[in-house]
Structure formats: structure tokens, C-alpha cells
Symmetry: C2
Subunit: 419 residues, 2 copies
């Protein structure tokens, strides 16, 4: 979001707040419902997630994914405890993969699920670190035999380390066999799914209980703006609702309005819908799709450069705008006489790249492999930055390996046009 | 906070974010620590709440009080479970008064404390709805006899309904006898305590474990900005810390920096410190105190008008900028032949006042008494608005009672100068 837009939003919301407290709250409420239904359509979410006259679904704007997970996990926990008795908290089990964001563990601790009852199912390189229904089923079966009760699976569309995508359809199908709810955490990659060519990553979401993504990650919106949709809003509002004389008002008492304070942790709410409305109205669907596609194109170009330089390797396939790469162990052995172990070498490479202050890249480790994450996602990134970054990476690798940078077609000579 | 300031903060923080991700994070961290120590000094909080070389205290900026209560309650819960065994959650009891904000009940539900183990100790008119140590002790004693374990007391400085202030010193003293931590929730009235003449409301805070107030309530800061200080930061960070390869960095690994992600619910953080820094620097201590005093003076003037009109009564003494008043049952009986019960009458009065669209007042009920809350706190309120509001209240009461507005010295004739 540009500063100009942010300023307008600030003025609008401040002005509206001053002008009419209660009218403002109703405007905020209505705009949020409208914007969440718009976004839901844009993502082609099933109708069961939207506000409608004949359904129990709906969307809400929260701060962060942690909050979305706490709310949906609490809903799942309370629903199950209502059924099996409130002294059975110890038996509740939550599932995810070893690639799921640590926010889930934190949320489990907060809502009182035992840390040892958070099952981080192992993923492997052979499936590009996706959570497979087979491995999940093995873990669940053992838990069922031990008398434990399944309440929640967190599946990810765009994991933090490698941006891999869990297969939603078979995971939801499996979970339904165990009467377990599924939350789809698309924090990072959800935004991409507004483009028809990426929408397939959400195939199967209709089997989930809830879905969230962060508009502040990759949809031109300022922090913090997490979009959460649920199929059954009462599961959320039953544990989160509060009442007090000083909170009563005619609108809420009528039962005709959505009381968003009961959809979230806090009671106070910021006017998030206004900034999302501004983003949608000022960029339009075409503009937002072009923005996403441009980032993916630039990441694809960077990936192309990496694959053309035989010293490097792509560690996990690129799906969106993050390229996971490293200098391959072969090159290190060949040129460096085994002075360095591959992980240590790539760690040094990353440090020397970042020390220039010209670019900033991050790292992660999957399956014991240390790698560098090149991420395009900033609003102002252009082709020339990608070119600069790649030349920098090549140069630093060359000086660390003590070799010459191989002569390949450079990025600028041959801009790859595939999309 | 003015829109102009908000715009500057937005530009600054966006610019800084683009310029250097990691440096930005360290700047954010350092500024937050500095600003929290400044504010702590301004509030004359005990040194044990501040960052120092020889202490375990410190402050953090969160979104809302709900979040502050969840974090401190979770800390208390986990600390006790570590001591008595993790299967004893059912035995944990939390204390507050019937005037404590509902956010505590919500927080208890979220962290898995049984709703029936949240003791809302009754308060009465005779003590102006303060929580007394005697009544708290009676309730605790019964719980001790039942084998329940005391973990948390929430005391309030400026309750939501009447802005009353719980006596911190004796409550903290009592709690320490039961080894129970005390959180002081000064959401609303904490800001006033930057003025020496209001600081006595915090007397005894040195006996508490944590203290929070919302700068967005009454310190010229935009939503959402809850300031929390704790004496023992590790109690907070032990249950809230997370680790993952993608979160590691040199600064954190050195152990030399505060890792604020482990002080809060979410992992993502907004640059709250910048806006608070801007508020402190641009208004100064003198400016902020003048701002607070002006609101209190205006509320005091409104209160004076109410007491001069014999048809009205002040329901609970005014402490800050909220005046709790109603038309007295006597006046209603006298003029209205018992057509209306007092609560119903005052409800109608409030509705007719708000229906004008010129002012907006709220209501609450304490000890069965329905009353109107006149609140001065908006940034742009001036003496003339108070005058208009009071004339409106008088006029509406007159037409509902069918009497004449009594001739008293009007607000504009005789501006009360007491402070």
C-alpha cells in the first residue's frame, strides 16, 4: 500500500470516527462483510465460506495468522469438549507437518493444548516437503489406538521455508473420516490464488472448516491484515463471545448484525476493511493480478539464471516468488577440495551476500539441507534488481569457490518471457 | 493523534522498512525499549518494571488489553502448572471484581481456565464499587478450603462502568499472602497518572506483577497501542517463545537483544513505538499533562452543572473524565406520578439525547441502577461542547418530566475554575 493511500485511509477513518461513533461502527461492519464477500469471490472460495442468507459462513479481518489459528483452534477445542466432557483436554490432538509455521505450536500452547499433543508429521524431499495423507494417516491411526481425540489439522498453502503446498483435497477427505476440522493456512500464497492459473492450489478447500491468508503479505495492503473465513460462524462465536451491560446496543440486541468482537481475541477493532476496500478499488482485479504475475515472472527469471549456472542447484521447486537455491555439494567438492561442508559453505555465501548491504536474502533448512531463499515480494522490485541480485550471488560464489563465473547468457541479454 | 502525525509515522515506517529490513527491526526494538522506559518514568512506575542492567523487568507494546491479559494470565498459569503438575488446570482460580472488564473472562476462556473458576467478587455502592481486600479475602478463603489454587488477580484503575479505582496497595499485600500475582489493568485511567496530582491512584503498584494501560484511550495515540510492563520477563517469554530455523538470526542468538515476538501472541509486529515516540516528542510532558487536565476540568464542570440541578444526581463520584449521572428517582416520582420507574426513565432520557445526533452518551448499570455516562475524552472537545451537551440534557429531562428547567447559574455564566 502506498503512503498516499495509507494517508487517505487514515483521514477517512479518523473523520468517520469523529463524525458518528455508532454509525461508524455499523459502516465498518457492513464494509467488512462486503469486502470479505468480494475477496471470497475473487479467490473462488466455496459459497459456504461467505455471508449469505442461507448459510452459516462468513469472513472477518484479524491482525495476524496467529490470531486466526488461536480462534479456529479454540473453536475446535471447545466444540469437542462440549461433546466429550470438559475434563478431557489432555486427550485432544492437533496435526500439522514439520513445515507448518511455528505459530500453530504457539497457538496450541496459548489455548491449553499440551505441546506433546501437537503432531508435526515428517515430510521428505521425495514429496517436496508436502504433508501427505498417507503419513498423516499413519500418525492418526497410532493416536486413535492410544485413545486420543483428533480435533484440528492445519494444512498449508505456501509453507514458510520452501513455499510448498499441501494437497488439500486428500487431506480434507482423510480428516473428515476422523471428524476432524481442517484449517487452511495460506498466509503467504493465498494472494496468488486470485489469478486463475494459481487457483488450483486451493483445490479441495471446500472440505476445510476455515481458510486464512494475509493480505499484508502479498496483496498491497499494510500490516496487519489477516483474512479469515469460516464455514460455521457459531463455532467461533460461542467460545469468543462476551456480554456486559456497557457493550449492549440496539443493533446487537436485534440479532440482525454480525458482532465481530465475538469473532476475534480482542474486543477493540481497527477499521481494516477500509484499507482493503481501498486496495481493491484502486488497483482493481486486473491490477492486482498483474502485480502478482510480475513478481512470479521475476522469481521465475531468477530461477532460470540459477539453473543455467551449473555450480548452483534449486533445492525445492519454485511455486510463487521465493527461489530456494544453494551452491551444490559437487561444485564445492570439485573446487574447494572439501574444505567446506555444503551447509557451512552456503551459510558463508549468504553472509557475504548480505554483508554487501545491496540485497537481503534469508535462509532455511529442510531435510538437513541449508539453503538460501531469494524472495521477490517487495512492492517496488523491478527486473534490474533481480539482475543485480543474481550478479551479486554469482560474484560472491565465484570468490568463495575460487573459480571463474561461467559464461552463460546473462539475464539482461536474454530475458525469459515464459509466464 | 492527528492525521498529519499519522501520515508522517506511516511514511517514516514505510521508508525505514524498505531501506533495511534487519536494521529496521533492530531500530524498532531499540526505540520500543527506550519509549517504554520513558513512559515508565513518566508514570513513576517502580524501577523493577523497567529495562535495566540489574533487573528482570521491561515493557512491550501490544495491541489491546485483551492481549496483555492473555499474555500475563498465561504466564501465571504456566508458572503454577510447572510447580504443581500440568494435570491441575482445573484447580486454578482467577480473581477480579464484578466491575472488571469482560476481557478477563474472555482471556480466561482462551487460555483454558474454567469459566466457573473466574471469581467476580461483588462490589457495592458503599465503597463506590471498588474491590475491597476484605471481600476478596472472604472469597479466597473459601477457595483455599476447597483445595483450589490462586494464580491471578486483575485489579482495575478506572473501571469501564464508573471509572472507579481499586485500592492497589492492600490488594497486592493480600495477594502476596497467597502467592498470587496481580495484574493492574489501567486501560482507561493509566494515562491520567502522568500528572502528579493523579499519580496516587497507582500507589501500591510496586506490589503487582504487571501493569498495563492503553495509550490509544487517552494519550493522543492512534489505535491500537496497549503498553504492558512486567517485573519478570521470563515468566512471559517462557510460554510464548517459539523457535524455528527461519526465525534465527545473529542478534537473537547472541542473547543480547529482547526478542519481542516472545512477549506477545502474534509473531508479526507493527512499529508501534514510532507513533508513541512521535506523540511524546511532539507534545512533550507538559503538553500531555495539559491535555489530560483540560479533559478532567471539562468533566468537572459538567459534574458541577449536574449537582446544581436538583433533579439530577451523581451516581458514583467522578475521578477522571467520565461523569455518571441520572435523573433522581425522587424527581421522577414528584413530577411524573410514578409513571416511570427510574431506570426506565433514564433509559428513555438517554435515547432522546442520542436521537438528536448532536451528542452521543452511553449507559451502564451498577448495583441495579441504570445511569448515563458522559465522557469528555475526544481530542477536539472544547468548553462549548460541554455547554451544549448539558443544555441538551437539561432540555430533554425537562420535556420528559414535564417540568421547567430550573434557573441556575449556567455553565457559560460561571465557568468553574477549580482543578
Amino acid at each position: 500500500m502506498e503512503a498516499r493511500q495509507a494517508f487517505l485511509v487514515k483521514c477517512l477513518s479518523t473523520g468517520l470516527m469523529l463524525s458518528d461513533s455508532i454509525g461508524y461502527l455499523l459502516l465498518q461492519l457492513e464494509l467488512e462483510m462486503v469486502v470479505m464477500n468480494w475477496l471470497s469471490k475473487l479467490l473462488q472460495l466455496p459459497r459456504s465460506f461467505s455471508f449469505s442468507n442461507d448459510g452459516d459462513g462468513g469472513g472477518v479481518l484479524l491482525g495476524t495468522t496467529c490470531e486466526a489459528i488461536i480462534c479456529t483452534l479454540l473453536a475446535a477445542k471447545e466444540k469437542m469438549l462440549d461433546k466429550i466432557g470438559r475434563t478431557n483436554t489432555e486427550k485432544l490432538v492437533v496435526y500439522c507437518s514439520d513445515q507448518t509455521h511455528v505459530g500453530l505450536e504457539k497457538a496450541a500452547k496459548i489455548v491449553g493444548i499440551k505441546p506433546e499433543n501437537v503432531r508435526k508429521v515428517l515430510t521428505t524431499k521425495s514429496t517436496n516437503f508436502k504433508l501427505t495423507p498417507e503419513s498423516l494417516n499413519d500418525v492418526i491411526k497410532r493416536d486413535v489406538e492410544s485413545g486420543l481425540i483428533q480435533i484440528y489439522l492445519c494444512a498449508t498453502v505456501g509453507t514458510t521455508s520452501t513455499t510448498t503446498v499441501d494437497p488439500l483435497a486428500p487431506l480434507c477427505e482423510l480428516s473428515s473420516k476422523y471428524n476432524m476440522g481442517v484449517h487452511v493456512d495460506a498466509t503467504y500464497a493465498g494472494s496468488a490464488c486470485i489469478c486463475p492459473e494459481f487457483r488450483h492450489f486451493l483445490d479441495g478447500v471446500e472440505g476445510a472448516s476455515s481458510f486464512s491468508f494475509n493480505a499484508h503479505k502479498w496483496l498491497l495492503t499494510n500490516l496487519a491484515c489477516c483474512c479469515l473465513w469460516v464455514k460455521d460462524k457459531s463455532a467461533l462465536t460461542i467460545p469468543l463471545s462476551t456480554n456486559s451491560e456497557y457493550l449492549t446496543n440496539k443493533a446487537t440486541e436485534s440479532g440482525q448484525v454480525v458482532d465481530y468482537k465475538d469473532w476475534q481475541i480482542a474486543l477493540t477493532r481497527r477499521f481494516q476493511a477500509l484499507k482493503l476496500w481501498m486496495v481493491l478499488r484502486s488497483n482493481g482485479v486486473t491490477g492486482l493480478r498483474a502485480f502478482i504475475r510480475n513478481h512470479v515472472k521475476m522469481a521465475k527469471n531468477f530461477e532460470g539464471q540459477v539453473t543455467m549456472d551449473s555450480r548452483f542447484e534449486i533445492v525445492v521447486p519454485r511455486y510463487f516468488y521465493v527461489v530456494c537455491f544453494r551452491v551444490s555439494p559437487c561444485s564445492i567438492n570439485e573446487h574447494h577440495g572439501k574444505n567446506y561442508e555444503a551447509n557451512e559453505f552456503n551459510h558463508k555465501l549468504l553472509e557475504s551476500i548480505n554483508a554487501t548491504g545491496l540485497v537481503y536474502m534469508t535462509h532455511s533448512v529442510v531435510g538437513g539441507v541449508y539453503f538460501i531463499r531469494f524472495s521477490v515480494g517487495a512492492t517496488l522490485t523491478e527486473d534490474r534488481h533481480i539482475q543485480l541480485a543474481w550478479e551479486l550471488v554469482q560474484g560472491k560464489a565465484t570468490s568463495l569457490l575460487g573459480t571463474q563465473t561461467p559464461k552463460t547468457a546473462s539475464y539482461s541479454d536474454n530475458p525469459k518471457e515464459e509466464t
